[in-house]
Amino acid sequence: MKTVLLKLVTIIIEDELESKLLSELLNLGATGYTVGTVRGKGLYAERESAWEGENSRIETLVSAEVADKIMAHLAAEYFPHFGAAAFVITAEVLRGEKYAG
């Protein structure tokens, strides 16, 4: 059993933007993603019910290089205008060489 050190990028974003962002992630080099539905509160606005919109919590395992690209993309295109949060954690990944592109 061999593991690889990769970056786990987690992004929390308004669900209206989910599908757009997901295809951008694939373009930036991600090979997959996992998405859950969450609610949340930040500095911008509370999103507690479907009326107010929900948040998507997107996780993608990528190489350090792709992680940097994704964070730069988020910083430029999303954070100035939309409610969002994003962070990077290092993870030991099984079958990870597949995701490292």
């Binding site: 019910s49 479907a50 009326w51 919109g53």
Partner: protein
């Protein structure tokens, strides 16, 4: 006969809305799962669309074109003056003024359904094709408001991040509420009486009951928004009550001019008076991301919606009686 105000206030739908507000005030743990909310929304839109289409299949173009034009006129003009009032009297910035204009120009399917129930309870008739007018009114105002925001500012910053006009257009026309309303209207039209008989046990008979559940949930959300009323400020509070009354009058007058029955004209007035909270918020979040939900959701959900449901319906009915008595 009972007073219309009493009939309106004591309907299970309105009482459920009040119960929802009370539930948040006493900090109840009552909460509708998001999926239930979505399911109820889908049900309401499909039901309104199917019934509207079926009823339209019973109408002729000769009856329909004048009220249709009246609806277009309303949908096109409300966002324009709303925008300028908000921008220059209310001192809102471009994005927020446009977002609010989009909400007040578009319509609320739930307020509309309550208006039908109100008329049925009073045994007042109205034209069967009213849901078609709802459909006509939903989208144009949102497009116009966004268009105004795009053109009335050189300031790139307030546009940045927002989607392109073409994207917004597609987003709106393919948006859930438009797609279900228009799509099911067409289905109802094509499927005719045989089709309607097959689906009406689900989409017509229990409709008021579903509306009651939906208004309970609407009350829960409104209750949570009440805390934002102070942030919205007195101008928006006044706007959220005065404009609906004004729009209702315009709708009723235009409805009369277009040859609608008194019931039909009142409902057109209610449509004009109502503010969107399904289609408009979704579009605005994407097209005008710098606009604040504290303004547009609070105004449409916590001010105008309860006003219309609780006081507006009987008031507009009285206004219509006065106008039709002339």
């Amino acid at each position: 006969m009972e007073h219309p105000l009493l009939i309106s206030l004591l309907s299970p739908m309105v009482l459920a809305f009040v119960l929802g507000i009370i539930a948040t005030l006493v900090k109840s743990d009552l909460k509708f799962p998001e999926e239930l909310y979505t399911a109820l929304t889908i049900y309401l839109l499909v039901a309104i669309g199917l019934k509207g289409g079926y009823k339209l299949s019973l109408s002729t173009f000769a009856e329909f074109w004048k009220p249709g034009m009246a609806a277009v006129l309303i949908g096109v003009s409300i966002p324009v003056w709303s925008y300028f009032i908000l921008r220059y009297l209310g001192k809102f910035d471009v994005a927020n003024a446009a977002a609010l204009a989009a909400h007040y120009g578009s319509v609320s399917a739930v307020t509309f359904s309550e208006a039908l129930a109100f008329h049925d309870n009073l045994k007042l008739t109205y034209e069967g094709y009213m849901p078609s007018l709802l459909t006509i009114l939903e989208v144009p105002a949102i497009l116009i408001a966004i268009f105004i925001a795009r053109t009335s500012t050189q300031d790139k910053a307030s546009q940045a991040g927002g989607a392109s006009t073409k994207e917004v257009m597609r987003e709106l026309l393919a948006g859930k509420s438009t797609l279900l309303l228009v799509g099911c209207l067409v289905i109802g039209l094509l499927a005719g009486k045989r089709g309607w008989d097959q689906v009406s046990p689900l989409f017509d008979v229990p409709f008021r009951g579903v509306l009651t559940l939906f208004l309970l949930e609407a009350g829960l959300v409104t209750g949570r928004r009440l805390g934002d009323l102070s942030k919205a400020g007195p101008f928006l509070f006044g706007f959220g009550i005065v404009m609906p009354v004004l729009h209702a009058c315009i709708g009723i007058v235009l409805g009369k001019a277009a040859g609608l029955s008194m019931g039909g004209a009142t409902i057109l007035g209610v449509l004009a008076a109502s503010a969107s909270y399904i289609a408009a918020p979704a579009a605005v979040r994407v097209a005008l991301p710098t606009a604040s939900p504290t303004y547009y959701l609070t105004a449409s959900l916590a001010i105008t919606f309860p006003f219309n449901i609780l006081i507006g319906l009987p008031l507009y009915h009285a206004i219509a009686q006065a106008i039709y008595a002339i």
